[in-house]
Amino acid sequence: MKSTITAEKPAEREGTFTTISGRPINRLYTADDIAGLDYDRDLGDPGQFPYTRGIHPTGYRGKLWTMRQFAGFGTPEETNARYKQLLAAGGTGLSVAFDLPTLMGRDPDHELSLGEVGKCGVNVTSLADMERLFEGITLGDITTSMTINSPAPMIFAMYLVVAEKQGADLRKLSGTIQNDILKEFIAQKEYIFPPRPSMRLITDIFEFCARDVPKWNTISVSGYHIREAGATALQELAFTLRDGIEYVQWGVDAGLDVDDFVPQISFFFNAHSDFFEEIAKYRAARKIWARVMQERFGAKNERSWKLRFHTQTAGVSLTAQQPYNNVVRTALQALSAVLGGTNSLHTNSLDEALALPTAEAATLALRTQQIIAHESGVVNMVDPLGGSYFVERLTLDMEAGAYKYFDAIDRMGGMVAAIENGYPQREIAESSYRFQQAFEKKEKQMVGVNVYAETDEAPFPILYIDDAAHEMQIARLAELRRTRDTAAVARTLESLKAAARGTANTMYPLLDCVRAYATVGEMCDALRTVWGEYEEVPSI
């Protein structure tokens, strides 16, 4: 029977079948495809090295993933209300989206903040805004993830001071700052300072947290934005893990012990539309990290070997056309993340190709996760796809492909050097353009856009953010500048500059700046005067 199948070569719809990343896929996978696979070496039971099948022996039978919905818009008060709604709806963690002025270290009254305040996230200018953002929410009782990178130390310092004022024990406080500057240079481009001083801020945080806030996740090494910028699944995996290696190497070079800071490093991946390719990506990520930590860095603490990750469904896969289709896309993507063993998950809202989500859309996105968790049954066993000929083959190929990229980047002198040469940026731009061309030729299809499009679509209700937040934040800033202790602000900013010029940990002077109600813009400006600003050479 077997020979007749191959001999006849029945007609197929296409000449070649490929994943969304362009990887060729065979018609059938059999035991021959994983002949070299060794269970103990390549997979291990869940909770066992190299953790391909998961980091917890009980999977989701022990604890479900954290349902963490990213949210933020307008003024701190508006976002505070959204947080209370998400917590009341069963959300189990908070995730703060900041607006572009905050992300770029600019105050609302800066020229470049024109039209941007409160638009893509919440505006947080000073400690006063951070206090408003978490009013009525006990920081000691929840975990908060904050998507903040260049100004991560400033925003983190504000969060810590709020927690301190609420009476929280910083040694028990947990949460995450994204704090991943490398992927900013590579993909999302929200950088302020040049790469090397930016890396120094990060090693300062490693050291500070190891000493004072030991349960805090100091960095969320992010493939999400790399993928959104157009990378393939393999490039997302390889560049993200190589970024992780770079951070660990800088920490080691700064004199830290691997096992003192690596357990607090976590990861953040994209859940794109090609179902099995994504699952293979997550499984390969755990396996590679465990090996690299053990073999390359000699980590001895098993917590250093275990890769924990957050996942967000792919924003770039959402369409402005026929927005209800996005609910289905997001559900499938979320399912791949769950089958890949994600530790926490954000599901996008159906309206996100149009605007920031409405409250109804955000609730539906959370419900999507709850349906997977409580109705689908996929949480009853760990790694149900383990042993699949296809998924195991994909996982092995992802791993091999990632090591090839590691070698290339190592030969360039590491990720910082590779970024300075524009290498990952070029690789991603190539993949992005290749996908766009395939999309134009309909070799890659999106329902409602290049297939099954409709010409006359009904208008869709969206969240429209006006300029009220901008005006309010400017007025508040003016008031703050009038009422705070100006001498204390000037003094603390001077100590920050002194620390930046020398080698003292910058976190302590930053905490003093924050307590004096210095603004994000002022703290970043202080560092701009010492380190300058990064500008990339534009290239297509």
Partner: protein
């Protein structure tokens, strides 16, 4: 025939440059002369580049919601410099309610997510009036 000259820029603070880069490349592949200015360009920088480059077209990529602040400034500066002939197009995430307002201020085309690159190439070719050779 003179090549169509296009300046592509990302104004505002946003760094999501995938769309701007892809379209810059597509226009170049379609035979146009493309200057990609990169990120965080102010209206002043964009208009002065258009003047310097003798641009026929300015393409602005805006995803952050700042378009109602940036576009009027660009249009006003173009008028001041006597560059009324420059065709301005915008790509990005633009709510429907803003479309007539952008049109009223003189923006010729707004391209929303999912627009085929060929549509943008065709639009630009159709809207740029061939200029007389400089004497």
């Amino acid at each position: 025939m003179n090549k169509i000259r296009v300046v592509i820029a990302k104004p505002g603070l946003d760094g999501h440059d995938r769309g701007a880069k892809v379209i810059a490349r597509a226009l170049r592949d379609a035979g146009m002369e493309v200057v990609y200015m990169g990120l965080r360009q102010t209206p002043e920088m964009i208009v002065s580049a258009a003047l310097q480059e003798d641009a026929d077209v300015i393409g602005l990529s805006i995803l952050s919601g700042a378009h109602m602040h940036i576009c009027p400034k660009v249009m006003e500066l173009l008028k001041q410099k006597g560059l009324d002939h420059v065709v301005v197009v915008v790509g990005g995430i633009i709510p429907d309610v803003d479309l007539p307002k952008l049109q009223a201020m003189g923006i010729k085309g707004v391209f929303l997510p999912g627009t085929p690159m060929q549509d943008i190439v065709d639009f630009i070719s159709a809207h740029v009036t061939p200029r007389a050779e400089a004497v």
